[in-house]
């Protein structure tokens, strides 16, 4: 505050920090634009591990995540809430028109982040033959899984197996090489074998689960990877009518999940903390893996509200097998209808 008047001066260090942050943000925007242009031109992003990714492994990401969650859950004064949430929406392209409540009713950024939407904001495709998107987001990858390994490509040049993502699943169809046959056009197809042991890994936990579909049908195993940006609606809905039989919780790391991370961190989706729900729908196997990140580290499961994720005590236990729960009644589990809310991603 100068003695001559009431003009305010920004201290040099603050100014330097603002300029630095601005430059970093501009660089990031430039990088994102370049990636988008490359994608539009059909250029595949390739896996390129770098020093920054290695450095990330040394950071206490869980502590950072939990501290961010603590900050985000602080109650804001009512008058400031609309300004904060509008700024968030402007920065991350959220549609505030869809929020179920007036902005000043959300006590904290955490509460605002996991907001519900007005009725009718997300009409559910009623076609009984369709499988709907469980989340708002961007389609990163999708396709059919083929071959014994059943690998999902993270980016060009690096893949991970379905079994490492889901864990030791009793229901996952095991596609053995000898099961794959070719049709008249040379396309690989997988016939059903009701009595073939290689088709199901029989579980002691759920020995009654069997494939009820007619033996004449031929099925494939498909996947779809959807990335949720910070401004997206962060609740997960049921993609079809199905029975959830098992829940698995992997307490892994909490790397960021953005495009850069996918390009530079090996096994990103397999190493991060995640919840896997497995079960059956009318066509067979169904699984949803909800994967947490640094800022959005915890996953709330509405069918099991007592489940806690992103816990400090699990910081060092990411190499341990996942915690598993078989839903009762056995072989029926929890029935979900298409469009039902299943889970939500929370800040921190």
């Amino acid at each position: 505050n100068s003695s001559k008047g009431d003009s305010f001066l920004v201290p040099g260090a603050t100014l330097a920090t603002i300029v630095m942050l601005g430059a970093l943000h501009a660089r990031r925007l430039y990088g994102d634009k370049k990636l988008e242009e490359a994608r539009e031109n059909g250029i595949e992003i390739e896996f390129q591990p770098d020093v920054k990714a290695t450095f990330l492994r040394l950071l206490p990401l869980r502590s950072i995540s939990r501290f961010w969650g603590f900050l985000a859950s602080m109650e804001l004064p009512i008058w400031i809430r609309p300004y904060v949430y509008r700024s968030w929406a402007r920065a991350f392209h959220s549609n505030l028109e869809e929020a179920a409540k007036p902005l000043d009713k959300y006590a904290s950024l955490r509460e605002f982040f996991v907001r519900t939407l007005k009725d009718g904001s997300r009409p559910i495709d009623s076609d009984p033959c369709c499988l709907i998107s469980p989340v708002d987001g961007t389609i990163l990858r999708f396709g059919e899984l083929k071959g014994a390994g059943s690998m999902i490509e993270q980016v060009k040049g690096f893949s991970y197996s379905v079994s490492s993502l889901l864990g030791a699943s009793p229901f996952l169809p095991v596609i053995a090489e000898e099961d794959i046959q070719q049709d008249s056009e040379g396309q690989e197809i997988i016939p059903r074998h009701e009595n073939k042991k290689s088709w199901w890994r029989i579980s002691l936990a759920s020995p009654k689960v069997r494939d009820p579909a007619p033996a004449s049908l031929t099925t494939g195993l498909f996947y779809c990877v959807i990335y949720l940006k910070p401004g997206d609606y962060h609740r997960i809905h049921s993609p079809v009518d199905w029975n959830v039989l098992v829940r698995r919780h992997f307490s892994g790391r909490l790397f960021p999940l953005n495009e850069r991370a996918a390009r530079t961190i090996r096994n990103l989706y397999v190493e991060n903390e995640r919840i896997v729900l497995e079960g059956r729908w009318q066509e067979g196997f169904m699984a949803i893996a909800a994967i947490g990140a640094t800022t959005i580290g915890s996953i709330e499961l509405f069918i099991e509200p007592e489940l806690w994720t992103n816990q400090t005590r699990k910081n060092l236990l990411h190499s341990e097998p996942p915690e598993e729960r078989v839903y009762e009644p056995e072989a029926v589990g929890v029935m979900l209808k298409k469009g039902d809310e299943v889970a939500a991603f929370n800040m921190g």
Binding site: I132, G137, I139, F142, S216, T219, R235, E283, M286
Partner: protein
């Protein structure tokens, strides 16, 4: 955050029947923005 969906579905051709009426097809493209409730495939 990321969600990965893995599911079994009929594929275009069976060994016994040439009919493609029950095949599953995605109706999305990579990079598409999608909302809850919109079809991923049929």
């Amino acid at each position: 955050s990321t969600v990965i969906l893995i599911f079994q579905a009929p594929i275009s051709k069976s060994l016994e029947d040439d009919s493609a009426s029950s095949e599953f097809r995605f109706c999305i493209k990579r990079g598409d923005r999608i909302h809850v409730g919109e079809a991923l495939g049929r």
